[in-house]
């Protein structure tokens, strides 16, 4: 049974989303190491949505959905703002750390901490963007 939380996309609500995901993860009995990785990936992805999906002054929502599926933990973050399409640019291996510190650390962490990362971007403005992150458990 998936659990969902939908809230206004604000920095204050990132902490609420993190608390929600950690709480659900604990109830699923996830090991601390797995919980840490999921927690961090969700914070990074949520922060990116809050900072980049919506124009300054534009209100919008963020939704998180977490479920256990066939031994995986699947987390989907949805927003209704601008699609984020820059993953590849942030994943180059030869980026000096000083440059990385300026931006892109979050995307790199998401890809390193989670086993599968998939984006489905809105076909038209106002449609939903979905980021799905999967962590394999016990494989």
């Amino acid at each position: 049974m998936p659990d969902e939380l939908r809230a206004e996309a604000t920095i204050e609500n990132v902490r609420r989303i993190s608390d929600f995901v950690r709480d659900k993860g604990r109830r699923l009995g996830l090991p601390d190491d797995v919980l840490f990785d999921i927690d961090l990936a969700v914070e990074e992805a949520s922060t990116n949505i809050v900072r980049h999906a919506y124009e300054p002054g534009q209100e919008g929502d963020i939704q998180v959905r977490i479920e256990a599926v066939d031994g995986d933990i699947r987390i989907t973050l949805t927003d209704w703002g601008q699609p984020f399409e820059a993953d590849a640019a942030y994943l180059a291996v030869d980026v000096p750390v000083e440059v990385r510190a300026e931006g892109g650390m979050g995307v790199l962490l998401i890809h390193k901490l989670m086993d599968e990362v998939t984006r489905i971007t809105a076909a038209a403005p106002g449609g939903s963007n979905e980021l799905t992150m999967v962590k394999h458990i016990g494989r």
Partner: protein
């Protein structure tokens, strides 16, 4: 997040306690930037009570490190737990700044003038 601060000789030791998430990173950044503004450019961040750090905290640490070095000092980190160490390695921060096992070692490194980069 609770952040304590003490001075040991010429070194300022800052000890955050808890999770350095996006919001807490702003608080830590303020403490570190204030220390710098007050002339403390030799900083040890004791991470022994930090269980979690996200990129906002890393970004702040990188900025403080640059400012410390610009002002003739340095920032050293101490006592990272295993998970935080892993985050540091993914980003490459272990190559950017000195990380020691204990704050005492980091403080001692300042007085012996140990190399600022590992």
């Amino acid at each position: 997040m609770e952040i304590t601060q003490r001075v040991e000789g010429a070194v300022t030791v800052v000890q955050p306690d808890g999770r350095i998430d996006t919001e807490a990173a702003e608080q830590l950044d303020q403490v570190l930037q204030t220390a710098l503004t007050e002339g403390h450019s030799r900083i040890v961040v004791d991470m022994s009570k930090v269980e979690y750090i996200s990129s906002a905290g890393l970004r702040s640490l990188a900025a403080v490190l640059v400012r410390c070095r610009d002002e003739g000092g340095d920032m050293k980190l101490a006592a990272l737990n295993e998970r935080v160490t892993r985050v540091f390695k993914i980003i490459g921060f272990d190559l950017l700044m000195s990380v020691t096992d204990t704050p005492e070692t980091a403080i001692a490194d300042f007085s012996t003038g140990a190399a600022s980069e590992p």
